[in-house]
């Protein structure tokens, strides 16, 4: 029961992006389209969950003075694995994500969860916490990716939605601003606004 709560808490109340404000760096740049956003969300979830699990197993034998280096080594090994996996199976998306796969290493969510949770908790809750935070990050990524791709280029996962429902015939135009980088920031700002005002 407690583990289930650890998974669902980061969806809304403890969301890593809108509440803890971690991991913004890579989140905004990959959301101009839905497909890279999905791939990025899955990659980060895998890395956070496994890193949490491994560090939590090793937590009693890591000397506190050098823990950052140990964490970085574990995380970067996992990221190299993810990077090679993406290059082998979804090469085009891996090219699109370019440096942002490598930047998962310095993603604040990963380091933040390792420091705040995995160093002091047993393996199973740590694994759940990692999955939860990865998914909480993923939700925002997918929401941003959907809005930006739908209104920016009129497609979803490459499927021409706006053309099929005939929006162009009645004078609809794609909003080019949506795929520009600054719009991602403004959208996150609006999501935070929405979330906080809903709570009152």
């Amino acid at each position: 029961m407690r583990n289930w709560k650890l998974i669902t808490m980061p969806f809304d109340k403890e969301n890593p992006i809108t509440v803890q404000v971690l991991g913004i760096c890579s989140c905004l740049a990959v959301t101009a389209q839905l497909k890279p956003a999905l791939v990025m969300a899955v990659s980060v979830t895998v890395v956070v969950a496994l890193a949490n699990l491994i560090i939590s197993i090793m937590r009693k034998s890591i000397p506190p003075r050098i823990r950052i280096i140990v964490q970085l080594v574990v995380v970067s090994t996992l990221v190299v694995l993810v990077d090679l996996f993406l290059k082998a199976f979804v090469y085009d998306v891996s090219k699109q994500l370019s440096v942002f796969v490598g930047l998962i290493i310095t993603n604040c969510i990963v380091m933040g969860r390792l420091e705040a949770f995995a160093m002091t908790n047993p393996p199973l809750p740590s694994l759940c916490d990692g999955i939860g935070n990865g998914l909480g990050y993923g939700i925002i990524l997918v929401a941003l990716g959907t809005v930006r791709e739908l209104f920016g280029s009129g497609t979803l996962l490459g499927y021409p939605v706006m053309e099929k429902i005939g929006a162009y015939n009645i004078g609809y135009e794609n909003n080019g601003l949506m795929i520009m980088p600054p719009m991602a920031l403004i959208l996150v700002g609006l999501i935070i606004w929405l979330q906080r005002s809903r709570k009152g």
Partner: protein
């Protein structure tokens, strides 16, 4: 020479770390409450970029990229170590940050205390890692270009964080809807600043 100046200007204004690639957003949002501390962090990041990117460039050129080991012996010409680059880059960055920290502590304790916790945190700043990864991705050919890129990116980051800190100091006296205060409004303002910076696009010297 012209190419170097071009890269320098481009990495400050057009390929700005924050407004075009959102790198280093975490510390950008957390530390930009006052102009003074954010200027200190900006200088530290610029310095670390200026040291780590050229070192990683040398490492990439002579050890990691495909066929780079040929200078040791021709038999190593088809060794490709590029899969190690992520681990090597982060190790170099973590080590350099540690050295920089100890040097500053030894020679200028005042600066050390002014920077405080931010110094060790630079090791996990995406802007620094991003600098190294972009350097590898774009394949700069000479050390001059790499230095111009590192210095330009650092100055771009510095300008962005000082600008947002100045705006946030003024914002304290404005009436913002309660739910939008703090992080929310900072995001939106950063977006608007990004739009303004986009007007530099296409500048070439």
């Amino acid at each position: 020479m012209q190419e170097i100046v071009n890269i320098f200007v481009k990495s400050i204004f057009i390929d700005n770390m924050i407004f075009a690639f959102f790198l280093g957003m975490c510390s950008y949002l957390a530390v930009s409450k006052t102009v003074k501390t954010s200027a200190g962090l900006g200088i530290a990041v610029t310095f670390v970029l200026l040291v780590t990117v050229p070192i990683n460039w040398l490492l990439n050129k002579y050890v990691l990229s495909p066929g780079a080991l040929a200078w040791i012996s021709p038999s190593l010409a088809n060794v490709d170590l590029s899969f190690l680059s992520l681990i090597m880059f982060i190790a170099v960055i973590a080590a350099i940050v540690q050295i920089v920290e100890m040097t500053i502590e030894r020679f200028s304790p005042t600066l050390y205390y002014a920077l405080g916790i931010f110094l060790p945190l630079i090791a996990v700043n995406c802007a620094v890692m991003g600098g190294s990864l972009f350097m590898q991705e774009r394949g700069y050919s000479s050390i001059g270009e790499v230095l111009a890129f590192a210095l330009g990116s650092g100055i771009g980051w510095f300008l962005a964080i000082v600008a947002i800190a100045a705006i946030r100091e003024k914002l304290r006296y404005s009436h913002i809807p309660p739910a939008l205060q703090g992080v929310g409004i900072t995001f939106i303002i950063t977006g608007l600043m990004g739009l303004a910076f986009m007007s530099f696009m296409g500048i070439k010297i």
